[in-house]
Symmetry: C2
Subunit: 316 residues, 2 copies
DNA sequence: CAAGGACTTCAGCAAATGGTTAACTTGCTC
DNA sequence: GAGCAAGTTAACCATTTGCTGAAGTCCTTG
C-alpha cells in the first residue's frame, strides 16, 4: 500500500475509469493496472470490476477510496505542517478527556492562546486510557484528564483542579421531588464519555446497575443535559457548570447515594528528557487563577481562532 | 515519505534513540539513519538532534512524530476495513453539515441502523462546500445538508425536510422584552457552523453586520444555546428544537427582521452510475414519516452502537 | 585528554518499484 | 459474430529502495 498505489486508486475512483486515471497521472494504462493488481493482492479484494458504463466498486473498494484520499491528504498536510513548524511556528498538541474537552478546555486554550502569537494548539478528544500511549509515541505534548490512581512509568502528573459531577434532572421529572435509592430504572442521558468503560461515568452506571437499554448516548454533554432539562431523564453535570443552571431553576440535583463523582484533573507529561517548551508553559499556566477562572466559566472561542477540524462518528 | 520512513521515525520518537529503534526494527543503525536522512531532505527540517541524554526534537520533528503514528494507524485500519468489507459487512459513509449532524443525524441514523444488522455508518461532520469534492472522490456515499441554489454537475439532490432557524435569547436578556433593529451590538453565541463563511449562519451575521469580536464560537450548538439560556447572548436554534425549550419558558425568540434562516435539507448523491445500495436505501428511508419523526425528536443513540471516534480542534 | 558511545556518511549490492510495449481477455454494441 | 473499447497480464528494463559493513564525526564522561 504505497502512496503511489493509493494515489492511483483514488484517481480511478474519482474518474470512474482506469483509462482516464492513466491519462491524468500521465502514465500508461498498464502501469495503473499494475498498481491496482498490487492492491488487490495485498488486500485480498477485487476492489472494482467493469460494469457496463463505468466501474462497479466492491464495498472494500469504496472503503479504500475514502481512506486513500484521507491518507494522501494527511500525508500532504504533514509535509506542510513540518515546514510551517520549521518557520518557527510553535505548536502544542493536547489530548483531553471528553468532559474536560467540552467544558473546560475551550476557556483554557482561548486564554492560553491570547498570551502568544505564533502558537497553534491542536486538541484531540480521546479516552484517558490512550493518554500514555500517545505521550510515549510523542504524538501529543500534554494530556489533560481525570487523575488515575496507579502512577505510571515515566509519566509525570500534576493536579490542578478538583471537580465534582452530579446527577441532575429537569424540574418536572419525578426524581426532582422524590428521593429514591433505585436510579437504575430511570433513563440516563449521557455524553460520549459513557462509551468508554473505564470512565468514571461508566463505572458509576455499572455500580448503580443501570442497564444498557436505559442509557442514551448523545454527541456531547450539553445535548444530554438539554434533554434532561426537558424532563426526559437523568443526566450528569459538572458541579461548577450547574450553578448557573440551578439558579435558573431548570435543573435539580438528584439526591441519592452513589450519584456523585468526585475527582481531580491532572496534566500528564513525559517525565524524562527534553520537553516541548510550550508544554511546560501550559502546565505552569494551568494552575494560575486566570486559567482556573477561564476553565470554570468557559466562554466560547474567538471566531478567527477556532477551527473545528475532524469529527467522525461511527454507528455499527 | 514512505511508510518505512515513517515507521522508522515513529520508532525513534517512541524510544528517543536511533540505536534502540534500530534494535526494535531489527536493522542496523545505518539503515535507520538513512531513512531519517531521506525525511530530513524531503521536509527540509533537521527533525531531531543529539542532546545530552536522549534526543531533542525540533518542532517539525514533533509534528512529524504525531502524524507518522496517525498515518501508520490509518493505513493499518484501512487494511482491516477493506478486509471486513469483503466479508459482507455493509457500510454507509455519510457527510453532514454541522447543524444537521448535531440535531437530526443521530435520530436518523439510530432508526436507520435498527433496520439492518451488519451495517456500519460512518458520519463525518464537514462544511457543505466540501460535499461535492467528497462525493466526486467516492469518499462518501451520501451528503446531507442545506440545499444550495446552483445545481451541480453530476450530483442529484433530493429535498426531504424544511427547517427554520431563529435567534433566541434567555428570558433575562434585554432582547427578550424589547424589540430592536440592531442585533449587531449584541454578543452572539454560535455553533461551529458559523466558522464556515459560506454557511447560512455566517451569511446572516455578515448581513446583520455583527462584528467578529461579538461572535463567540462553541464546540457545538447545544453548548451555545445553553449559554444563551443563561442570558449571556443571542444564539441560533432550529425551530423544531425550540418548541420544547420555549415551552419551559427558558428561551425567548428574538423578534427582529433578518434574524431568521429558512431552508430545506437535501440529500446529495452522485448522479451517474452504480451507487452503493445502502445509499439508495437511506435516500428512500429519509423521507418516510418514521425518519422525519426521528430527526425532529432526536433522542440519543444506543450505547452499544454509538462510537465517537475522532474529534480534533485547532486554535491558531 | 583519551575512551567510548551514539549518530552519520559512504560504497556497494540485492530486491522491489514504477514504468514501458505488446499481447490477451472481456463485455458491450451494431 | 465482428468490431471495439477498456481492463489485464506478461516480459522486460532503468531507477530507486533498503540494507549492510566500515569508516567517520561529535559529544559526553571518566
Amino acid at each position: 500500500m504505497t502512496p503511489t498505489q493509493l494515489r492511483t486508486f483514488a484517481t480511478i475512483a474519482r474518474h470512474g475509469s482506469s483509462k482516464a486515471a492513466a491519462a491524468e497521472l500521465g502514465v500508461t494504462e498498464a502501469a495503473v493496472s499494475g498498481h491496482v493488481a498490487a492492491l488487490r493482492k495485498e488486500l485480498g479484494d477485487e476492489l472494482f470490476r467493469r460494469a457496463g458504463a463505468g466501474l462497479g466498486f466492491t464495498p472494500g473498494g469504496l472503503r479504500l477510496a475514502s481512506r486513500a484520499v484521507e491518507l494522501l491528504g494527511l500525508q500532504d498536510q504533514t509535509r506542510h505542517e513540518v515546514r510551517a513548524a520549521a518557520d518557527g511556528q510553535r505548536i502544542l498538541r493536547l489530548a483531553v478527556s471528553s468532559l474536560f474537552g467540552e467544558y473546560s478546555a475551550p476557556g483554557l486554550i482561548e486564554s492560553f492562546c491570547t498570551r502568544a502569537d505564533d502558537l497553534e494548539v491542536e486538541m484531540s478528544v480521546c479516552a484517558p486510557a490512550d493518554f500514555d500511549r500517545l505521550l510515549a509515541a510523542r504524538a501529543i505534548d500534554v494530556a489533560i484528564g481525570p487523575a488515575t490512581h496507579q502512577p505510571r512509568e515515566g509519566i509525570a502528573t500534576k493536579e490542578f483542579l478538583r471537580y465534582q459531577i452530579v446527577a441532575v434532572v429537569g424540574v418536572k421529572h419525578p426524581l426532582a421531588t422524590t428521593h429514591t435509592k433505585n436510579l437504575a430504572e430511570h433513563t440516563w442521558l449521557l455524553g460520549p464519555s459513557a462509551v468508554d468503560p473505564s470512565s468514571s461515568a461508566a463505572r458509576m452506571l455499572l455500580h448503580l446497575g443501570v442497564p444498557e437499554h436505559h442509557q442514551r448516548i448523545f454527541q456531547n454533554h450539553a445535548a444530554a443535559i438539554a434533554e434532561a432539562s426537558a424532563g426526559h431523564g437523568v443526566a450528569l453535570c459538572p458541579m461548577h457548570m450547574l450553578a448557573a443552571e440551578l439558579g435558573h431553576g431548570r435543573l435539580v440535583r438528584v439526591q441519592s447515594p452513589g450519584s456523585m463523582i468526585d475527582g481531580v484533573y491532572v496534566t500528564h507529561v513525559l517525565r524524562r528528557e527534553v520537553p516541548n517548551p510550550v508544554a511546560n508553559e501550559l502546565v505552569r499556566f494551568i494552575s494560575t487563577p486566570r486559567a482556573i477562572q477561564a476553565m470554570l466559566t468557559g466562554t466560547g472561542a474567538n471566531v478567527s481562532r477556532f477551527r473545528p477540524r475532524v469529527h467522525v462518528t461511527l454507528w455499527s
